[in-house]
């Protein structure tokens, strides 16, 4: 690693630059000066993205531990530290976050006309906070970021959302808060056991079986709500449907990953014995999400709701991969998270493109869109294929790795997991067929104008990424190999006190 790259606090920059940019947008921008507001936001998001690139280029693939560490004392009264660091799990997610923010800013360009500055600022600030969640190694700091994220998201859904936005956003907030507070209780317990909030201390702390079970359940409440796992998923379709396009993109692409990532960072390594104990339960819950939620998606009439359910189903794959405790499964789950970040963003953006023109998300309001929007239809079909896991797209890689690992693990698990290839294709392609193909359904569709340059640009970037990572997923997998090996090594060692139990 070069000394020059380490000389700047890149992680702090990645967190605080977007937040500062958000504050600048709030101060400079207004509805009277929309162009200025948009450009400031775009430049802010681009700079914020650029500062995350050195994290990738300077990352040592062979090192399975934390890199780019920053350690400052923050609140000595609680022995709380400003401790940052990334490993192979968090690095791709940090990049995904900063990248998605750029996409969201561009996607909102002409679409958002009401309180532009606040909208842009909310996303920039949220981006910084989410990177904070992915990079902190101090439990209390992590909690601060985790909860702080709720505030901008609450406002984004509530201010710029659809007709039922208030119900959706309050539900989103309270659901998430309920889970988080139990996690806080778990942190309080761990704090009194170790006297610190250092994650490293928690990893080494021996815990009785009962304590591990309770801690795992508390974490599960927080993370399962966020992912979301069946049966605590019900906030997600509401929030997704009512959120503005940008909100849906950030929710699907990043917010859900916070839950998945946190399982790897907290729940599993802190309570490994409980994680093993609950693995069957978790696998069953994941399979229910994969199969049952896919069936629910099949009958949706609203495009955004359909994609929301499809997200839950795909996230089922992620938790499934985590709890099989194999390197292939784990990496498959991580790839699935990243790939789902791209694909779901693209799907929501596609719905956004249609919604901006027709102001309806109902599948039945469309039909034969390909006739009036051929370029758009090409993109949409590509992303639909990726969503259903077509080989050659990034959607395939993760699912395939997880299924492959599942075959070794247990035939029936693999069997049910593999049904997603059928159900996923069924609900996605059926929706595509109804929306894009056939006769032109009504005069709204007949009057549709094809993509403008801006929309083409963002969809094209996402298309390149989806295909690129589908053909050549190494950039994602190689950074996490060492980390996942370390992780599994850690998970294999029981943390039960030697004398006890």
């Amino acid at each position: 690693m070069q000394a020059t790259i380490l000389s700047l606090p890149w992680l702090s920059l990645a967190i605080w630059l977007p937040i500062v940019a958000g504050i600048i947008v709030l101060m400079l921008g207004s509805d009277q000066k929309p162009t200025l507001t948009r450009w400031v936001a775009l430049i802010g998001s681009l700079i914020s993205f650029v500062v995350t690139i050195p994290l990738y280029t300077g990352f040592d693939h062979k090192d399975g531990f934390f890199q780019f560490e920053e350690l400052l004392s923050w609140v000595p009264a609680f022995n709380m530290h400003y401790h940052l660091g990334i490993d192979g799990f968090s690095l791709p997610l940090v990049l995904l976050t900063s990248f998605t923010t750029v996409i969201v800013v561009i996607a909102a360009w002409e679409v958002i006309t009401k309180q532009i500055a606040q909208y842009m600022a909310a996303f920039l600030i949220m981006s910084g906070i989410m990177i904070g969640v992915f990079t902190t190694l101090d439990a209390l700091l992590y909690y601060v970021f985790w909860e702080a994220m709720l505030i901008p998201m609450f406002l984004v859904i509530g201010v710029w959302g659809g007709p039922n936005r208030v119900y959706a956003t309050v539900k989103f907030f309270l659901y998430t808060l309920l889970g988080s507070l139990l996690m806080l209780v778990a942190f309080i317990y761990l704090y009194h056991q170790t006297g610190s909030f250092e994650l490293a201390d928690y990893y080494l702390l021996p815990l009785s079986f009962k304590a591990q079970i309770l801690i795992f359940i508390a974490f599960f409440m927080a993370f399962a709500v966020k992912i979301p796992m069946w049966p605590v998923h019900t906030w997600l379709p509401d929030a997704h449907v009512e959120a503005p396009t940008g909100g849906s993109v950030v929710l699907a692409a990043i917010a859900l990953k916070l839950g998945g990532y946190s399982f790897l960072r907290f729940a599993m390594p802190i309570a490994p014995d409980a994680a093993h104990y609950f693995s069957t339960t978790m696998i069953v819950l994941s399979l229910i999400a994969v199969v049952y939620i896919a069936l629910v998606a099949l009958v949706q009439k609203d495009m955004k709701k359909l994609i929301a359910y499809s997200s839950i189903s795909h996230m089922g794959f992620v938790t499934l991969g985590f709890f099989m405790f194999g390197q292939l499964a784990l990496e498959g789950a991580m790839v699935q998270m990243i790939s789902h970040g791209f694909i779901s963003s693209a799907m929501f953006l596609c719905v956004g493109v249609l919604y901006d023109r027709v102001h309806s998300r109902e599948i039945s309001a469309y039909g034969g869109v390909v006739n009036t929007m051929p370029v758009f239809a090409a993109f949409a079909v590509l992303f639909a294929m990726a969503n259903s896991g077509l080989p050659g797209t990034s959607g395939f890689v993760g699912e395939f790795m997880v299924i492959l690992a599942a075959v070794k693990f247990n035939f029936w698990v693999a069997f049910f997991a593999a049904t997603t290839l059928i159900f996923g294709a069924a609900y996605t392609l059926w929706m595509t067929k109804r929306v894009f193909f056939g006769e032109v359904a009504n005069h709204h569709v007949a009057e549709l104008a094809d993509l403008n340059k801006r929309e083409f640009f963002i969809l094209a970037i996402l298309a390149v990424l989806v295909i690129g990572f589908g053909v050549y997923p190494q950039p994602i997998t190689e950074v996490m190999q060492a980390t996942s090996a370390e992780f599994l090594k850690h998970m294999a060692i029981s943390k039960l006190p030697v004398a006890g139990y």
Partner: protein, 482 residues
Amino acid sequence: MDNMQYDLITLLPELIVLGMAMFILLLDLFILPQNRFVLYGLSQLTLLVAGFVTFNTHSPAVGFAFSHMFIDDTLADVIKIMMFVGTSLIFVYTRKYLQDRQMFRGEFYAMVLFGLLGMMIMVSGQSLLTIYMGLELLSLCLYSLVAFDRDNTRASEAAMKYFVLGALASGMLLYGMSMLYGMTGSLDVNDIANHIAEQQKNNPVLLMGLVFVVAGIAFKFGAVPFQMWVPDVYQGSPTPMTLIIGSVPKLAAFAMTVRLLVQGLHPLAVHWQEMMLLMAVLSIVIGNFSAIVQTNLKRMLAYSTISHVGFIMFGFMSANANGFASSFFYITAYVLMSIAGFGVILLLSRQGFEAEEINDLKGLNQKHPWYAFLMLIIMFSMAGIPPTLGFYAKFTVLQAAWQAGFTYAVVLAALMAVIGAFYYLNIVRKMYFDAPEQYGAITAPLELRIVLSVHALALLGLGLFPEVLLSICGRSLLMSLQ
């Protein structure tokens, strides 16, 4: 040094406040109504000088005056300075409101300063008598402040309620104190503690006395089951008086609890811990659930106060230094939040418009995005969402209670915080998601706007960097309790 002289020097801040309160009362007779801002200025000056004197005469050593009836320790000094800051904020926030409603009179400032004097005496009370005297001085000022707007029937009703129930509570406290005195033969809290520890931990009369003392304290805090007066008085009083009742006196109540229960009755901690636990849990549950259905902002804040008091008691029931420090931190945070919350109401109200219904905040973000943002910070801070001060407040008390072994109570309180979040979110929701209904410019003076902005941002700043306040609270308490 001569004994009397030493006593008077120790009491210098109190004497300053006393002298100035009387001077302002007198001056008011001779001053023309249009020159009354002089009284406002003098009151602020009083606070400044008293704060300066308190700060400069502070020493880490504990000083006693008037034969151990009055104590001057770090805790007292810190709380007094906090009270000066709080009262000063109150004066800034209330001036315009009082002027608009013909309540801008010298008596107001004199009353508040006398009340402040009462609180200062409570804070430094080392004998049951001193504490009671301070409490009564404060209470009498508060009763009359509530009824300050003579022609306001609702305020008079609130004052009547407050007075009757408050007198009852004072009576209970005094009755309890008399039992303590009867059993221990001393009024000095430290003597009482020593006496109980040496001889009679399970004396039934002492326990009876304890129950009455705790009931008196609970009433002053407004904890369940002594919370009945809180919503009515909060709603009925003119907003500046609500602001006064709901903020700084809580600091005094905290100090009174420290003096009576921690210093005086610590040997009986096992018994008052149980009472505190019950009151804390009930306050959080009842306060939060009742707040949900309120449509009046002041009434909602009243119920939210009850639930905050529950959290404060969580710290006390731990009955160790960590717990008391967490209570102190929580109460400081609460006073800051509550002054800011009422500050926003005062900011938005103008001649003939009270801004005290939750619906009056509708669409505030579209009209005045900056003030909506400030209220957003205050509400999230009250709800305990990081990165605001309110989060660390909740966190400190919960971890203290956990450390003391109240596991289930902590889990319950954490779940109740979700209920609490609901009604704070409701306000944010009205401000940000609804279209504005009430149109009208903000007529508040510049000083109010600036001070309120700094104040609300401080809730965020202290949430990002809570260490300063945490260490002040923790250390001052440790130095005084040792």
